[in-house]
């Protein structure tokens, strides 16, 4: 059954009954405690990913690698990040693979991409939020805060707000956003301040809110920062 499903996967395309792939779906679940079987499954999926299989087949492979992919899958997925049709599904897997190699692949590709594909990688770096690689991601994202493409700079700010580390907060503090981006930069800074406050770093959070208030922000940001500042007072939480 599994062999037949992998045979069908080689030519899987929109319009085919997804039930033909059910044995692969089931194998992904059943091999939870069987590393050897998982490794074999991953290898077979990667073979399809690196073949001339249709886009839909590769899309399916990425969905499965999201669940069982390891560092072994990273090179093949990384190679797809620059492909317009498959970049998202490569991230669909890479974003959820816990091994640091997945984050490093996203970091490597960042400088090589532009436009929407770059924005996608930026957002994935923000979501992964791994302590081991967050510092490197923060450094890379910091460099994009002044990107001439507003959409890239916006994405970088939001990703730093997702990471929400002290380093991310400092990166945002050092940026000089263009007027059109001021609100989203402030939003990301407040996300950092909230995480810092929740982690017991009230002094740092307070500094962020005070910085935002100094810059004559829009009313919505001013009120939000004032509320945040109030929450930083001893006993407020």
């Amino acid at each position: 059954m599994l062999d037949e499903a992998f045979e069908a996967l080689k030519t899987y395309d929109w319009g085919m009954d997804p039930k033909v792939l059910a044995p692969i779906d089931q194998a992904v679940v059943k091999t939870h405690n069987d590393p050897a079987a998982r490794k074999d499954l991953e290898s077979r999926l990667l073979a399809v990913l690196q073949s001339q299989a249709p886009r839909d087949a590769k899309d399916y492979v990425c969905r499965q690698l999201r669940t069982i992919g390891t560092a072994a899958s990273v090179p093949a997925l990384e190679a797809l990040l620059a492909e317009a049709e498959l970049s998202h599904m490569a991230r669909y897997a890479l974003e959820r693979i816990p091994e640091p190699q997945a984050g490093q692949a996203l970091q490597r590709q960042l400088s090589k991409l532009s436009g929407n594909l770059k924005i996608g990688v930026i957002s994935s770096l923000g979501v992964r939020d791994q302590a081991a690689s967050a510092a490197r991601s923060v450094a890379l994202l910091r460099g994009l805060l002044q990107d001439p493409d507003d959409a890239v700079a916006r994405a970088a700010a939001l990703a730093l707000g997702d990471i929400a580390s002290e380093g991310a907060d400092k990166a945002l503090a050092s940026a000089r956003p263009r007027p059109a981006l001021a609100a989203v930069f402030a939003d990301a800074s407040m996300s950092c301040a909230e995480k810092l406050l929740a982690a017991g770093h009230a002094r740092e959070a307070k500094g962020t809110y005070q910085r935002l208030l100094k810059n004559n922000p829009p009313e919505l940001v001013r009120l939000a920062a004032q509320r945040g500042l109030k929450a930083c007072q001893p006993g407020a939480l």
Binding site: P18, H32, T67, H88, S191, L223
Partner: protein
């Protein structure tokens, strides 16, 4: 009424300043919230300049029902509609214009244009589920209050982001399950009234999970922005059944498909689990354990959600009916007052009332997210066919790297939360 024909600036500023300045009384952002009950025209007819200015995003099927509720309210000045289907948004615009005898309602394909308008106080959102969090958080960032249809979230990670964004900007944010209060009032009254003694568990029944969609390509109809409909979801070719908005959660409608919905367990689960958490009074919490009971010869698998206080919510437990409560009647419990909607007009009236008073609505987004956590946690347990531990505060399945992969899914560029 469009952006160029808003009410006189002084009147508008008064209302909007109030709405934007007064926060919800959440712990993290507590501000003094004295509300003069007569300050905002709650009594009697509402002057146009004091109406809540509303726009709608996603206006087919359930969205059209919400649209009618808002448009029909004398408290509302409806000014803008947004839908990626031209025929739907044009139809909605016609209805608005007919109501006000004008041609002023703006119609947008892209929700960002609607949210960029400074004159809009509140939005209702009823797109497919994969769009909810992006639109709702962006609305909060633009200072809008939000009424978002259930299921409010598609993934576990989206929930806390919605709550954080709403609290950050002190937005009134209501989820959209009217059934939580209206369908299960009897069970709620029995539990809260103390008649059942100490409540031990309650059962919820829903049917299928969502599944993959691999329908063949069809030509995209004229006036349908397919790329925008897909938005953050994986790219797929247009097929009318893929994006059909009827309420079928099994097949041939978006509610049946994994990329856009969790299926019946999230679609009806948002109602039933919402009612169950309300009845047994755990709306403020999420479970710490999900026990997966494997199927037996003649019995399907079922789940038990275990709360820190020991209460259990079961899902599809064999032999149990929907909303069936187990309790120990020998352990008496004093009755406690049952919360309900504020204002008039059901869940939409409750939301509009809270927009004025800055109180938390009945299905505040915090409660909604906790309800949705049951739907998503249950889905993951069924898919992995095993029990799970859950740490809601850290948004993690402790020590379970595989389950943690299901907490979120990458969004298609350029969409980002």
């Amino acid at each position: 009424m469009d952006a160029k024909r808003t009410p006189p600036a002084a009147q508008q500023t008064t209302r909007r300043q109030f709405i934007k300045a007064v926060g919800l009384a959440s712990a993290a952002v507590a501000l003094p919230t004295f509300i003069p009950a007569t300050a905002l025209g709650r009594a009697g007819a509402v002057a146009p300049s004091e109406r809540i200015v509303v726009g709608g995003i996603g206006l087919g099927n359930q969205g059209h029902g919400d649209f009618g509720g808002f448009l029909g309210s004398s408290d509302v000045q409806y000014v803008a509609v947004c839908d990626v289907r031209k025929n739907v948004r044009d139809g909605a615009k016609r209805e608005v214009d007919e109501r006000y005898k004008s041609k002023d309602c703006a119609a947008y394909n892209d929700f960002r244009q609607l949210l960029a308008r400074d004159d809009i106080d509140a939005v209702h959102v009823a797109t497919p589920d994969h769009w909810h969090t992006i639109i709702a958080t962006e609305a909060c960032r633009h200072g809008k209050d939000v009424f978002c249809q259930k299921p409010e979230t598609l993934t576990l990670r989206e929930g806390p982001l919605m709550v954080e964004c709403a609290r950050r900007y002190a937005r009134v944010f209501s989820g959209g399950s009217q059934r939580v209060l209206e369908d299960y009032r009897g069970t709620v009254n029995m539990c809260w009234g103390g008649k059942l003694g100490r409540v031990l568990s309650i059962n919820v029944q829903t049917s299928n999970l969502s599944h993959a969609c691999n329908l063949p390509p069809e030509p995209v109809p004229e006036g349908f922005d397919w790329e925008m409909w897909l938005g953050p979801a994986p790219w797929a070719p247009y097929n009318a059944k893929r994006c059909a908005g009827d309420f079928n959660t099994r097949e041939n409608a978006w509610r049946a498909y994994w990329d856009y919905s969790g299926g019946d367990i999230t679609d009806w689960g948002a109602h039933h689990f919402g009612g169950a958490t309300f009845a047994v009074d755990v709306r403020e919490f999420q479970p710490q354990e999900i026990v997966y009971n494997a199927p037996e010869a003649d019995k399907p698998a079922y789940l038990e959600f275990v709360y820190p206080n020991g209460i259990r919510i079961t899902h599809c437990k064999p032999g149990k009916a929907n909303m069936e409560v187990d309790s120990n009647e020998n352990e008496t419990r004093p009755p406690k007052p049952v919360p309900g909607y504020k204002g008039k007009g059901g869940i939409i009236g409750d939301f509009l009332y809270c927009v004025r008073t800055r109180e938390k609505p009945f299905r505040d987004i915090g409660f909604a997210v906790n309800t949705m956590s049951l739907c998503h946690l249950g889905t993951i347990a069924y898919r992995l066919e095993r029990s799970l531990k859950w740490d809601a505060a850290k948004l993690t399945f402790p020590g379970d790297m595989e389950a943690n992969r299901f907490i979120d899914r990458a969004r298609r560029q350029p969409w980002q939360l």
